[in-house]
Subunit: 197 residues, 2 copies
DNA sequence: GTCTATATCATGATAGAC
DNA sequence: GTCTATCATGATATAGAC
């Protein structure tokens, strides 16, 4: 798959921004990593912020695309839905372990140009699905649908974003941190299913 | 409490770094916010990194000081320990909601000068306490002590650091996000106590 | 200890040749 | 579309007067 110049720029920018954040990356670095001339960056994008926005929008989609699909399904029971959502998060996190920390970190810094972006709209779509799909399961108490979702996401995502800190604290050094993360998958399923039974 | 020049610099730097990250802050900003002359910054600290390191060390201490104390206690039972630890995290997070995201984000970027810092040592201290104190409770399965600790931290901390994203997704708009966070406190206690019973 | 002045370099962005 | 050259600015850091 031969990438066009614009794609090359976005791809290089993606990996750089994800690693160092918006203000930690220079146009020169994006130019070097993508192999594209510095002038070209400004031919395709009017500014550094514009490149960042392009990256950020695609990254948000990666974060939510699998999960939305599962939330929408009505042909499976509660326990299966839990399993599939955890699988979906793990699939995303295994492919893109640094992605959630990047998104959350940048989102907390962006104040000025939040309104310029379509980010909130992309997110808001998930909001209805939560209420509609989780609310009707008897095992979830009235109004606890959102708690449930947050619990699931917290238990899956946090150990990934806190890896740099937790792998230092981890007691059993014979087991690698990625093995530990993998072992958590069934652990999380058990906890959630028991907690809501 | 009159602050010395060095403290003024660190205090201003703390709030700026926490908000915008290492590379998002300039020496000029620290100078302006602290009211200290730009030249003075270099009189007290040899570089921007040195200021950052001073801030980072104090911030790590804030994150762990309360929790370590509770882990060390042997005069209380399992359920009480859960409650106190959640209270300790909530106390810390309410005072410093942006602190964990800042620490984790910077920690994931720091590669080069990790070894120069004492950060890992500060963290490693918590490691022993986990095994020694949680391992002897019968309710925790063999080897699940670390899982338990990660669950507790994930459920407490993640909703704070993901606030910019989750408050957009949140379905019940009548309830504020901080009210939701507060209501989670008892929710988390219930889940953890039930899950390990 | 505090300040001004300045050195040195890197930054994002533009203009214009090809 | 692609490239070079350059601008204007802002960055960290230093030297030295007071």
């Amino acid at each position: 798959m031969a990438l066009g110049s614009q794609e090359k720029i976005l791809e290089a920018a993606h990996s750089l921004f994800e690693e160092k954040g918006f203000s930690g990356v220079t146009m020169r670095e994006i130019s070097d990593k993508s192999g594209m001339n510095k002038g070209l960056l400004h031919y395709y994008f009017k500014s550094k912020q514009a490149i960042f926005l392009g990256v950020f929008k695609s990254v948000i989609r990666i974060m939510f695309v699998n999960i939305s699909g599962i939330l929408e399904r009505t042909d499976i029971d509660f326990d299966t839905k839990i399993e599939l959502m955890i699988d979906a998060y793990y699939s995303m996190l295994t492919k893109h372990p640094k992605l959630p920390l990047f998104v959350l970190s940048e989102l907390s810094k962006i104040k000025e140009f939040t309104s310029n972006t379509e980010i909130p709209n992309t997110l808001k779509d998930a909001s209805k699905l939560i209420e509609e799909n989780l609310g009707k399961y008897k095992k979830v108490n009235e109004g606890d649908g959102f708690h449930f979702l947050i619990n699931l996401i917290s238990l899956c995502v946090f150990p990934f974003i806190a890896q740099p800190m937790l792998q230092v604290v981890k007691p059993n050094k014979e087991e690698s941190y990625s093995d530990f993360l993998a072992s958590r998958k069934s652990h999380i399923k058990n906890i959630l299913i028991h907690a809501y039974k």
